[in-house]
Amino acid sequence: MAAVKETVETVAALEKYEHGFTTEIDQEFAPKGLSEDIVRFISAKKDEPQWMLDWRLEAYRRWLELEEPDWAKVSYPKIDYQDTYYYAAPKTKEGPKSLDEVDPELLAVYEKLGIPLKEQAVLAGVEGAPRYAVDAVFDSVSVVTTFKKELAQAGVIFCSMSEAIREHPELVRRYLGSVVPTSDNYFACLNSAVFSDGSFVYVPPGVRCPMELSTYFRINAKDSGQFERTLIVADKGAYVSYLEGCTAPMRDENQLHAAVVELVLLDDAEIKYSTVQNWYPGDPETGKGGIYNFVTKRADCRGDRSKVSWTQVETGSAITWKYPSCVLRGEGSSGEFYSIAVTNGHQQADTGTKMIHLGANTKSRIVAKGISAGKSTSTYRGLVSAHPKAKGARNFTQCDSLLIGKDCAAHTVPYIEARNGQSVFEHEATTTRLSDDQLFYCQQRGLSQEEAVALLVNGFVKDVLQQLPMEFAVEAQKLVAISLEGSVG
């Protein structure tokens, strides 16, 4: 019942988009636009070695030859790539040595967002309370990473990408771009050229990461894009759970977010990657503004028996274009994808996954729940393929869509490619609206219409919420309710 109470309270205290504030922080920008000079500028700003600059320039040159993809069921005006800042960073004299040196304004932002950056504050909490280390990325740079020492004791490397390039070049060179090659797709290629920061995680063999790791992305500067790059390597037998959250201010202009996330899993490794995406979705009435969320996420299960699990709650962004994928190369490796995509107002989401079965006895499971309300469009697009060598491959896919209102749309576009005779694929999809009977039942018992909707929707997405780490599940549940506010009646 606690969850129900939570929902009811949340709905009572609804706000449209609570993270829409902007913060006046002294920032420095690269000049607007994109050119080789800007790429050099970013690289120089980050004090990068020559190999990194060469890698970026190569990506930039390839990007010039690529065409923006148009196959997704989303429509938006053509993006002017020369009208964006590719680098925006809060001004600091030198990199902060400790949290005390970080701009208090900046800390206030994270406090307002409810992100614990102060280790002491976290430690002072109730005994046994969940602790997690945070890497806070503000526009183009990582401002602080907590619990580094404690993690280092366990051998875990958790730092910003720029720090990793400086401190652990051998690991970065070995794995960066090995899962998502620079020219993989238009947006990944753009990211490779201009990515500014992101998180780097390396968990050594046999180590179970002692706490949850998380990154919190915040876009603040006007007219800027965020291009972060995350690389997580779980060595043999390692385990790590990683959470990702994102918010942005309310603005009338669209802002571009083109991230790349690469996961590498060696033998018996396991990564659990959870995302709660709450970028500003644009004005619900006019559809003006909002983030274009064009993200490439891929996990490479290189090792035998490795396991990757993607869980995502997508409630924000004007446009979402995102397909977290699993390349199941290792024998007996498995991939999971749990997704909730909520669209309201004028939002458009085209999201799903790819499960590419290359190794024998690989398994995958997809549970995707889409909820469309208002004038929004939500599309599940997914690929499940088994190659001739993937004998004994097994997939189960379930896609359910819920429609709330007359003007929204929900689409299901699965691709299934089976290339051997010893695999089993199962796919089922349903599209329905909220049941009148259930709504009536709830209202009869004293719930208001909005409370009833929130309750039923929470029931609809329960399978996915259960996959999230505890503290994220609560947040996600609230988000789902908030996103649907005003969609009925």
Partner: protein, 342 residues
């Protein structure tokens, strides 16, 4: 981007290719390096078709030319497309108008009685208010043939349209059905079965567009592939804005019986109305090991057990055929194909 345009103009670049989303698994441009010459007129005898004993009248196309035509569009009629010229190309189009309240059983056959031909057939079927049509399509092509059959079906309110496609594939084959569904208590059943061996390919594509309220669509496609064959199923159900109370179900289930065979499926739902009930299911796998073991344990040889299980699997599609005579012919055809393939 159609084969028909390419046949008319001789322009190979008009052929659909992998780059066209709707043809990603049925590449014609990559396959056809040249178009064979137009098929000559045929003046000899034409052998009887598979539904000869059932139909009261028939329309027959030989090498793309209409040689017999019936004006009737009710009762039980046969529609035959016969290819009698080797290495030749032919295009044919035909329109049928079924008047309001009429009942038509259309027994359609595509008879490849030659080798390596390229055929394009376009059909327009208009079903009047309250009329009822059952279309049974039996496609038997040559292993080296290329055949594209496209049917555009327009339904009036209260019409009933049922279709069953049975095919054994070709070098490249596409059987496409597009239904414009008005809702309005019209009912559609679209079924199909593909049984493919050797290097055969078959693509069953359907698009059903629900434009109005209270429409029903039910789809069931089953397939079996073995050797190096490739089966493709693309089903799309579109529910347009305002087409409330649509009830649409789609199922595609297929068996892969060899490690070099392939099945590609794309069951799509595009929904623009909220008060609907739509679902699709898709399963692909091998024959149930337990069932096979059970059969073998009872002394049934493996090959026979496989055939038996596959016949039962595909049988569901055959059983849904309403016309008794056609159902018997279909059942015999399935048994014959599976007897030789499995």
């Amino acid at each position: 981007m159609t084969l028909s345009t390419a046949l008319k103009t001789g322009d190979l670049t008009a052929l659909p290719s992998r780059r066209d989303e709707d043809w990603r698994w049925t590449d014609l441009r990559g396959l056809l390096r040249a178009l064979p010459p137009a098929a000559p007129a045929h003046d000899g005898e034409v052998p009887a078709g598979p539904f000869a004993d059932l139909a009261s009248a028939e329309t027959v196309f030989v090498n793309g030319r209409r040689v017999v035509e019936t004006e009737v569009a009710s009762g039980v009629i046969a529609l035959r497309f016969v290819a009698l010229a080797d290495q030749a190309s032919q295009g044919a189009s035909h329109a049928l108008v079924v008047k309001p309240g009429e009942t038509l059983v259309l027994l359609e056959s595509h008879e490849g009685r030659a080798g390596g031909y390229v055929t394009d057939v376009a059909l327009d079927i208009a079903v009047g208010e309250g009329a009822s049509v059952e279309r049974i399509v039996l496609v038997e092509d040559d292993a080296e043939a290329v055949n594209v059959v496209t049917a555009e079906v327009d339904l009036a309110p209260g019409a009933q349209y049922a279709q069953t496609i049975l095919t054994s594939g070709a070098r490249r084959q596409r059987i496409e059905t597009r239904v414009n569904h008005p809702g309005a208590h019209a009912e559609v059943r679209l079924d199909g079965a593909y049984l493919l061996d050797a290097q055969r390919h078959a693509d069953l594509t359907t698009v059903v567009t629900h434009a109005g309220v209270e429409g029903v669509t039910s789809q069931l496609t089953k397939g079996m592939v073995t050797d190096q064959a490739r089966g493709v199923f693309q089903g799309r159900i579109v529910v347009s804005p305002g087409a409330d109370q649509t009830d649409a179900r789609m199922g595609h289930h297929a068996l892969i019986l060899s490690d070099k065979a392939e099945i590609d499926a794309k069951p799509e739902l595009l929904i623009f109305a909220d008060d609907v009930s739509c679902a699709h299911g898709n399963t692909i796998g091998a024959l149930d090991e337990d069932a096979l073991f059970y059969a073998e344990q009872r002394g049934i040889p493996q090959a026979e057990a496989k055939a038996m299980l596959t016949v039962a699997f595909v049988g569901e599609v055959v059983d849904r055929i309403a016309h008794e005579g056609a159902r018997e012919i279909a059942a015999a055809w399935v048994a014959r194909k599976l007897g030789s393939a499995v």
